[in-house]
Structures are given as C-alpha cells and as structure tokens.
C-alpha cells in the first residue's frame, strides 16, 4: 500500500477523464470516492474540473473552486433564518433548497422554553440530514445535547460569502492564512462549509480589514498572501496590542 502512495501526484482533471491510469490498479474495488468522482461499471471518471487528491491510500477526491454549496451530512454551515414555520425554522444555507431547523435542536430548548431566534438571524449549525431526495435538516446541538459552539451567531460582526475552495483551504490544519493574520490582528471567526464566513474583530475597521484579507487570498499563493497581509498591516489595520489567538 505504501508503495502505491509514491507514484501518486495531485493533478488537474476535467470532467469525463478516466482515472484508471492515475489510480494504482491494486486499489480498485476497495477505495473511497470523494466529491467529483463517479464510478461507471468498472471505470472511474471525474465529474468536475479540479485537482485530484488523495488521502491515505484509499480515499480520492477532487478539489475545485466551486461557489454553489451542495449539502453534505456532518458539514457545519452558516445559515440565515428566513421563516418561522410551525415547529421549525427555515434556514437558507445556499443549497438548492432551504434547510429546516427544529425549535428543539438548540441547547436547553424545550417545548416551553423556545430559543430566541428571529427571522434574519444567522445560525451556525450542523447538517443532520443531507441527501438529494430530502430537505436538508440542521441541528445546533451534538448527540449529547450540548451546543459545542453551534447556535445563533451574535448580533455583531460580519458574514460574507466566498468560494467553497477557499473555505476548505482555511479549514486545513495550520492554515497559514489564519495563523499569519492572527499574529497581527485578533479576531473571531466562524467558517461554514457552505462558503460563508463570519468574522468579528475589535472594531468595524479591523473587521473590514480581515474580510478583505480573506476574500483576497482566494487565488494567492502563500507568499503573495503574506505580502498582502504585510501591506494591510502597514496600512494601519492592526491592533495596538497584538494578542495570541
């Protein structure tokens, strides 16, 4: 298995490319296909243009710059409450249809004690149900009923939209961008897998700076990012007392 890892190189693929040549033969039949890959009879095809990647010998997927979110189970997303309907809230998470979020899916909520959620509020929630034939369903608690950081996002700060590719990059372990930014500016951030990011910094001024920095780094290499950040900081966008994040 380890040997087959070696000759794998991430590469650009287009929809319809057959991946037989790029995936070692001995893995066939026992691998996990991630987003962007499809099996037709015995062959494996890509369905998106992006970079074919691999994690541990069995898992393959395609990374691409996509804007439209397709709900996937377990994703943490940022959504906007658009409607209160009976026992549920309808939440726009940017997918093809609105997600539902039960009144009871909040920490400590009971039939009597309803959570204080208004139309237009932003919630950070986890997808409990997501498949193509059903409405996606959100929860703001984990299996033991704790919020774990999920729930209504505070009334200040700013939420903006970006591509899903950027979100995935920011969520990588030790994302250089967030780290580097954190060295200069202190801020809070919530990243939704659906391409929405909420940021709060000390002042409106710095929040705008963070938002600008994050949106700009979509098509930047690491060095460019650092350069841009330095410029930003030089332009006065930093706290007087930098704190460790």
């Amino acid at each position: 298995m380890a040997a087959s890892m070696d000759d794998f190189e991430p590469r650009v693929v287009l929809p319809g490319d057959s991946l037989m040549g790029h995936i070692p033969g001995e893995l066939h039949g026992k691998m996990t296909l991630g987003p962007g890959l499809r099996q037709d009879e015995t062959k494996i095809f890509s369905t998106k243009a992006g970079i074919l990647k691999r994690k541990n010998p069995h898992t393959f997927w395609i990374d691409c710059h996509q804007k439209r979110y397709v709900p996937a189970k377990g994703d943490k997303v940022l959504g906007v409450v658009t409607q209160k309907a009976g026992d549920v809230f309808r939440v726009d998470i940017g997918g093809q249809s609105q997600a539902i979020l039960s009144y009871l899916a909040f920490e400590g909520a009971t039939k009597r004690n309803r959570p204080n959620v208004q139309v237009g509020d932003v919630v950070y929630a986890k997808l409990l149900v997501a498949n193509r034939d059903m409405e996606p369903e959100l929860v703001c608690i984990d299996s033991s009923g704790r919020s774990q950081g999920l729930g209504v996002v505070g009334s200040d700060g700013f939420m903006f939209r970006c591509t899903l590719g950027l979100v995935r990059r920011l969520l990588l372990k030790d994302c250089p961008m967030l780290k580097f930014l954190g060295e200069k500016i202190s801020y809070e951030i919530a990243i939704g897998m659906n391409g929405r990011i909420w940021v709060r910094a000390k002042s409106i001024h710095t929040t705008i700076a963070v938002v600008t920095a994050l949106t700009n780094c979509e098509f930047m290499s690491e060095d460019d990012m650092k350069k841009m950040l330095r410029k930003l900081v030089a332009a006065g966008f930093h706290d007087s007392r930098p704190k460790p994040n």
Binding site: V12, L14, P15, G16, S18, G36, R38, F45, T47, K48, A49, G50, I51, D63, C64, H65, Q66, K67, R68, V70, Q96, S97, R132, D133, R169, F219, M220, S221
Partner: protein, 220 residues
C-alpha cells in the same frame, strides 16, 4: 470597417481565449472568444426550482440565449433549444432531482461561428461552476467554399460565400456527435470531410479547456 482583418488559411483556427469567473453573481461564468467572436455564459445552479417546473428524477435545465440587439425571437428559441439539449446531455442531472440549472448565454460579439462559441462558453461556464458532468463538450464550425476548399472557424464575412457551413458539438469521452446544425448543402463525402475537420478542431478546444483549467488551478 467590419471586414475582418484576420486571414484564415484553410486549416487554421482563430485564436481561442477565455476568461473564467468573469462576473461575480453566478455560480459559474466564462467568456469564450474565437477570434473576434465572443460569448459570455453564466450558470446558476443547482438551485431552487419553481414547483411547476420541478422534475422528480432530475434537475431542470434551462438555457436563455440573449441576442445583443433587440429581443429574442424564433431564431433565439432554436438556439436555446440546441444549447440546452447539448448541455443537458453532458450534465449529470440525475444527481440533483427537483432543482434547476439555469444557463444564460449572452452574445457579446458575432464575427462568425457564433453557435460553436456559445456552446463552448456554456461548457466552460459549467466547468467553472463545478456542476458534475459526464464529460465536457466542445463545438466547432467549418465551412466549405465555392471551390470545395475548407475553411475552419470561418468569420462572418467568409460564411457569406459558403456552399455549406457545419457546426458540430462533440463530447470529450467518445468523440461522438452531440449536436449538429448545417446551412447549405454538400455531398455525403464532403460532409464527412467537414465533420472530421470539425472533430479535430474540437480536440483543440478540449486541449484548450485543459490548459485553461490547469492555469486557473495553478495556485491552489
């Protein structure tokens, strides 16, 4: 003034260019240029669909073609259907039941081979949007002049004295014909000749897609 400065020798295709994510609103967008012909396409989806248009087993694909001058009429409807069916063929619509994929194609400049350019723009926009597809599609246009000479990717001026103009769209996996449209007439043999040149030109477009994507994805 409108006479085209580009002088195509018989087997040359005009320069191809593209710009992806050219507009911010749609989920995917691209400008595709072939010489002076330029088309912008945008894709929204898979998104919300009106209940009366929803399909139970697959996504509803719509194409809106916008001419640059005037409002769209019968000719545009025919183009829309051609582009729509072509796109639907390559899209994996069954992955998104009860949703819509809306493709909007805007003519920016018509200097010949407009339909081919529209299909290419739509395909690149779909690639850019990251909607799952079976394969990609490319279209090219080839004409045969009065004395049987072949001109690839003709300009508007050149098509004026064409005996036959063939536009065909090819899929990238089997290199088979997805869509075809023809003006004028030719013999069967000439048709196959045109067709096979078109296929070669489409291969160039496929190569172009790849190079363009490699460039776009070069900075992860």
């Amino acid at each position: 003034m409108t006479s085209n400065p580009e002088n195509n020798s018989s087997v040359e295709i005009r320069p191809i260019g593209s710009l992806q994510s050219c507009i911010s609103k749609p989920d995917g967008s691209a400008v595709f240029t072939q010489g002076d012909t330029s088309v912008m396409a945008a894709v929204y989806g898979p998104g919300d669909v009106k209940p009366n248009k929803a399909l139970m087993d697959k996504a509803t694909v719509t194409v809106t073609y916008k001419p640059k001058i005037g409002i769209s009429g019968v000719r545009e409807k025919a183009l829309e259907r051609m582009i729509r069916n072509t796109c639907e063929t390559v899209l994996l619509t069954t992955l998104f039941p009860r949703s819509s994929v809306d493709i909007i194609v805007q003519e920016i400049q018509d200097a010949g081979a407009l339909l081919a350019c529209s299909i290419n723009a739509a395909c690149l926009a779909m690639i850019n949007a990251g909607i799952p597809m079976k394969c990609t599609v490319a279209a090219s246009c080839c004409m045969m002049g009065k004395d049987e000479e072949l001109i690839m990717d003709p300009t508007k001026e050149q098509t004026k004295d064409a005996e036959c103009v063939l536009t065909s769209a090819i899929d990238s996996s089997a290199h088979s014909l997805i869509a075809s449209s023809m003006q004028g007439s030719c013999s069967v043999e000439q048709y196959h000749k045109l067709m096979s040149v078109c296929q070669k030109a489409c291969d160039k477009v496929f190569e172009f897609y790849r190079e363009a994507m490699e460039r776009t994805l070069s900075k992860p």
